[in-house]
């Protein structure tokens, strides 16, 4: 798919829930499934569920989310979170970028509790991709940002 084919898409960030899938189906718009590094939740968790529901979607690297926001190609962002309250949002590592970019571009955000992530061998950080090292030697501890969850303060 080309950028020009995306109009008022819905960015999907974090492990999608059944409630979120229902909403995506009801919306009937193109879902934009970001890869959601480091865990690759977008590809490993969300894509099969979007396919199973027959929801039209396109996959994208996380790096493209800013451009999609900036070009006005997203109509909404669906964030799937561990928890959220009036001050903060907490989700898998990386959720802050999707939240901040969406807010800065005036994109409507809908918040959901995330789907149940099974205990799998998820990539914990940038040192591996699909559980394979990205560098010839093991990245020493402390040389890679390893975080499971992330909390972002709401923008007022």
């Amino acid at each position: 798919m080309k950028l020009a084919d995306i109009d008022q898409g819905i960015l999907v960030w974090g492990p999608v829930s059944e409630e979120g899938l229902d909403r995506l189906q009801a919306e009937g718009r193109l879902a934009v499934a970001a890869e959601c590094r480091p865990f690759l939740v977008g590809l490993r968790y969300n894509v099969p569920r979007l396919q199973a529901r027959g929801i039209r979607f396109v996959y994208c690297p996380d790096e493209a989310v800013g451009l999609l926001c900036g070009q006005g190609r997203l109509g909404k962002t669906f964030l799937f979170l561990r928890r959220f309250d009036r001050d903060t949002l907490t989700g898998l590592s990386g959720v802050g970028l999707a939240y901040v970019l969406s807010r800065l571009h005036g994109i409507t955000i809908e918040e959901f509790l995330q789907g149940p992530l099974p205990a799998e061998n998820w990539d914990p950080d940038a040192a591996t991709l699909a559980n394979k090292p990205v560098l010839p030697s093991i990245v020493p501890p402390g040389k890679v940002r390893s975080r499971e969850t992330e909390m972002v303060r709401r923008i007022r």
């Binding site: 798919m1 080309k2 950028l3 084919d5 995306i6 934009v32 970001a34 890869e35 959601c36 590094r37 480091p38 690759l40 590809l43 490993r44 894509v47 099969p48 396919q51 979607f57 396109v58 996959y59 994208c60 690297p61 996380d62 790096e63 493209a64 989310v65 800013g66 451009l67 926001c69 900036g70 590592s93 990386g94 959720v95 802050g96 970028l97 999707a98 939240y99 901040v100 970019l101 800065l104 950080d125 940038a126 040192a127 991709l129 699909a130 394979k132 990205v134 560098l135 010839p136 990245v139 402390g142 040389k143 890679v144 940002r145 975080r147 992330e150 972002v152 303060r153 923008i155």
Partner: protein, 311 residues
């Protein structure tokens, strides 16, 4: 603080070598697992390397000049620019062709002109790194994206000279992972303190004040001050502006053009799945390779001051 003494010479500093009748081109997609080179003997092979991202950034500039020198009597600089532009529409190869023509009019052979240009180029890179070092706070906790062909090593040296501790946070830069495979590898090899992270983790480290500057390269720059660079740069700049973190762009050859009229290169969807095993699903994907960051989101451009006057 480690002492980035410059003992490690990154192959990315000069990724293309001009031989008597061929060009030797570093395969930037093979690093860091393998330091592999391609021998280029015709323009079609050069164009293919650019299209396949085997070389980019400075490599594509050197490749352009190399092709012009080797096949001076067979193909015009304009034709080389046209072919390269076909492979990488984001980059301004036409400007390089005009430079060569200007030198030719002054009676300077392409090979001489290219050699002189490159001699000045490396000094200019070091000067640019020094200028950037003068702008950064102490300690300098810098977030960067993609790869600027070894110039961050020059920056680390310049900061070391000023006794400014540096720590570089490198965004992995999916899907090609130039941040992980090139920049982080270079910095580790040179002993520069650095941390690898996913692009998506950038907002968190900005919110936590872990970084106090963002440094990025630029494939294109305009006189107005806008840049076009690797996809993800715009997101970093917007977040940095929100978190009050300065953003510095390393630029060269700004042109008087409307950056929004330059087509954004979009890569084949299958490249969104690079480095992933076949067992992972392959689905339709969108993969723009570059984005535009307007002047409003940059604190300052630090321009390469290399003279186009070589005679």
């Amino acid at each position: 603080m480690s002492n980035p003494s410059g003992k490690f010479q990154s192959p990315l500093l000069f990724p293309v070598r001009l031989n008597r009748d061929s060009l030797t081109v570093l395969d930037e997609t093979a690093l860091p697992f393998e330091e592999k080179y391609h021998e280029v003997r015709d323009l079609a092979a050069a164009e293919k390397l650019v299209r396949e991202m085997k070389t980019r950034s400075l490599g594509q500039v050197l490749l352009f000049f190399g092709c012009a020198v080797l096949w001076e009597n067979r193909v015009s600089p304009e034709e080389i620019a046209r072919r390269m532009h076909r492979a990488r529409p984001t980059f301004d190869f036409e400007y390089l062709a005009r430079l060569l023509r200007a030198w030719q009019r002054r009676g300077v052979p392409y090979r001489t002109a290219t050699e002189r240009f490159l001699a000045g180029f490396d000094a200019a890179r070091k000067a640019r790194a020094d200028e950037l070092a003068s702008l950064l706070p102490s300690p300098a906790n810098v977030l960067t994206i993609c790869n600027v062909n070894g110039e961050l090593l020059y920056l680390a040296q310049a900061l070391s000279t000023r006794s400014v501790p540096v720590h570089v946070y490198v965004a992995e830069t999916r899907p090609y992972l130039q941040g992980s495979r090139l920049t982080f590898w270079e910095l580790q090899r040179a002993g520069v303190p650095s941390t690898l992270l996913c692009q998506s983790q950038a907002a968190e480290i900005m919110q936590q004040d872990t970084v106090n500057a963002v440094v990025t390269g630029a494939d294109r720059a305009t006189v107005r001050g806008d840049i076009m660079n690797k996809i993800g740069t715009y997101a970093l700049a917007r977040c940095a502006r929100y978190f009050n973190i300065p953003v510095y762009a390393l630029t060269q050859y700004p042109r008087d053009v409307d950056i929004d009229r330059i087509p954004l290169e979009e890569r084949p969807p299958e490249e969104a799945f690079l480095f992933l095993p076949d067992s992972y699903p392959r689905v339709d994907a969108v993969y723009p390779a570059f984005d535009v960051t307007k002047k409003e989101y940059l604190t300052r451009s630090v321009e390469l001051k290399v003279s186009s006057e070589i005679s």
